[in-house]
Symmetry: C2
Subunit: 443 residues, 2 copies
């Protein structure tokens, strides 16, 4: 069962890496390597943020295979703030102050636009936490809803005792407003899966993140193309094979799962990718079976995702599997698919050895915290962010910015530091994505 922030268990013990791997030493070596290069890593990241400012916020799903730590998804409209340790919140507040001073120094009022699904209380708890962070940062914050049939303000009471006051967004000329509220900043916590809302086009107000970063425009394959470049630069900096931090990927951009179109492309890419992974596994003596994840290139919410071990699986999908792959959030049809190297997650937690996947949160260029998604009923090679799947959030017990060289390389603070580094590489890839889309004139 998923639980909300105020009840979120704080880890007393870090998830273990299990089963003991022949190549288990590799991760420790990776963590030790990052630790040893900490000053040059931080220096390099500082230079990167000067060239390409960090997005306002992001969360990154990581997978830790023991021999490899890699991001598998980067969310520019993060939810789950309610899952963070409460000690993360002051860091969030300071990071927001830092970001907004840079992005819009005169701002006082923020219009926060959440997703439309008002029945997901876990999501709404995240919105409430985010609102409180913005409020504590010293801004006047109100919630503007894009729900089409919301004609009057609506109060939503939450299990935590907090409540949300959702107001219909009104357009006046080149501004969006609420009743008696003319915001300077429009902060999107809505990933625009169903398209760019006309009401938000061509505003004189600053929209953060830009509309062009919504899933109606964005492709995971573009993000991971940027990430590949970032990983290569970074790997060169610290003399590392970039594969240890970068999942291989490919894509097919003309697929229709219901009509069985594009299957040849998918099967060919799956075969090629599995072979490439196998070569890497052979190079490093990894005896696990390679797998890939096929998912919507413009998808989110873990919908339209499947684990594949052979090209034949693509051709033998049954109707139920095809239906599940055919559409993502809000019924958007999937026509573009990304095929990504599957990264085992060998972190487990608790007596049941539940599979645990770290999610790292960043605001501005700062890692503000994270939590583990712990699943009791999923395998080490499955996507842990899937619709209808319940997970238990376990807040990171420590910050990600306090490595301790006196402790073992994979001790708590050092593992979290490693997660924070890899997550910031994904953040940098996202920053370059933002910079690129902002150069393209919006129609």
């Amino acid at each position: 069962m998923m639980i909300h922030a105020s009840e979120a268990t704080v880890l007393s013990a870090l998830p273990n890496l299990t089963p003991p791997l022949a190549s288990c030493g590799s991760l420790k070596r990776l963590e030790a390597h990052l630790l040893a290069h900490q000053p040059s890593i931080e220096h390099w990241l500082r230079q990167q943020w000067l060239q390409t400012p960090a997005p306002f916020y992001a969360s990154v799903d990581l997978r830790n295979a023991g021999f490899k730590i890699a991001p598998v998804d980067t969310n520019l409209f993060p939810a789950g703030f309610n899952n963070l340790n409460t000690t993360s919140l002051p860091m969030c507040i300071h990071a927001v102050q830092s970001a907004l001073s840079r992005l819009c120094s005169t701002a006082t009022q923020i219009l926060l636009i959440p997703e439309n699904h008002t029945r997901n209380q876990f999501y709404l708890e995240s919105v409430a936490t985010l609102r409180d962070v913005l409020d504590n940062a010293g801004y006047s914050v109100r919630l503007g809803s894009l729900i089409p049939d919301l004609h009057a303000p609506q109060t939503v009471n939450l299990p935590s005792g907090k409540s949300l006051y959702l107001e219909p967004v009104m357009r006046e000329g080149d501004r969006v407003k609420l009743q008696d509220f003319d915001p300077c900043i429009v902060l999107l916590n809505n990933d625009l899966s169903s398209g760019r809302p006309a009401i938000l086009e061509n505003l004189s107000q600053k929209v953060i993140p830009p509309l062009s970063l919504g899933w109606s425009n964005r492709l995971k394959s573009e993000h991971f193309t940027h990430y590949k470049q970032v990983a290569q630069e970074f790997a060169q900096l610290i003399s590392l094979d970039p594969w240890f931090i970068d999942p291989l990927f490919s894509y097919c951009h003309e697929v229709d799962f219901m009509k069985k179109e594009g299957e040849a492309c998918l099967a060919a890419q799956v075969e090629m990718l599995l072979a490439a992974i196998q070569r890497k596994y052979d190079e490093y003596g990894i005896t696990h079976r390679p797998f890939v994840i096929v998912k919507a290139d413009a998808g989110s919410y873990g919908m339209g995702v499947m684990t594949v071990h052979s090209p034949e699986e693509i051709q033998s999908l049954n109707r139920k599997q095809r239906t599940r792959m055919a559409a993502t959030k809000e019924g958007q049809k999937i026509t573009k698919a990304i095929i990504q190297e599957g990264v085992y997650t060998f972190e487990t937690w608790g007596e049941k050895n539940s599979v645990a996947e770290p999610v790292v949160y960043m605001m501005d260029r700062f890692v503000v915290g994270g939590f583990y998604r712990v699943h009791t009923d999923r395998g080490v090679n499955e996507n842990l962010n899937a619709p209808g799947m319940h997970f238990e959030p376990l807040a990171f017990p420590e910050p990600c910015c306090m490595p301790d060289k006196k402790q073992d390389a994979d001790a708590c603070p050092n593992r979290f530091y490693a997660y924070g580094v890899i997550a910031r590489l994904a953040l940098l890839a996202a920053a370059r994505e933002v910079a690129e889309t902002e150069q393209i004139p919006v129609l």
Copy 2:
């Protein structure tokens, strides 16, 4: 007994305001007033930091009289980082990253110059904590000592298990160096009480804070002149009598306690100030006895400080009292005195009702934490930062940036928010001091 950071007790309960005051409601009103104006306060502060960047770091001693909260000392070379709650450290790390990106974006190596007193283990624990913060922020940090007879590196082992490696600073041309270490930044944690060290003059490296802010140049009366202006602007913003946050003061700049010179000036200023305080007490129905603090205008470390209730006390000082007032740290002679309104501290802690004084820490423009100085053997009208006086540091249990409007105005998070606001006003005064001194060409 003073204890070091790793043992620092975290407050389970906030100090109480005691004794119950006729005017006790005032403070709650002040805290409620700050809380109600939070967005405009934060907006105003944001604008101020754009105009005048915050100093790299500072700590501010506050006094909470129930009817008044005011800063009584602002330290631009703060010690006591070891007394902060460990949850403050990630905030320190992020604030350092923020400050140094602004001050010297290309920096990688920092030379930290501590005070010369190597026998004060409490101070050295603070240096170790500060070094670790800089290290975690991703810089290469080494300690350069100005101890005149230090000719070879010296290792100092500390009770916490940490150790300091002190190296003699060498001058080469317009740079200071250590063996195989050419820093980009010289960070002073030495208040230069005994003068500007020649070895640090005219460096091509960035010196933070500037040499001109050392106690050899700085006067408390200048700081509090800036603070008065800040308090007035702030009080106007939120419609408040600035006296509620600003201690009245005056000064005499030609005194010699041993030769009994300048006593007439002191007595006259004391009389005038006591009368001014009495008028304010009358205005607000405060029945306590006014008092003033006489201290070295260029002093620090709580040396050369006395509590005075009448002008006659000045004239009747005995030899011991005169000797104590005649010199400050490192034997610097006191010739300039500041006379400051005494602000009662009515916060007490524990079963013994020990007097508690909050100290707030800031790095860059962020309040990163604080602690209470708790004295078992001092009165409500005495200076709590005095030489030889032992205090117990009680780390603030909560951050100063998370006020909670649902709780009572003087509940923990709201009182800490109020402290953070007043401390940042002192920080702003210091920022203006820095800006002013940096305009004066250094000889």
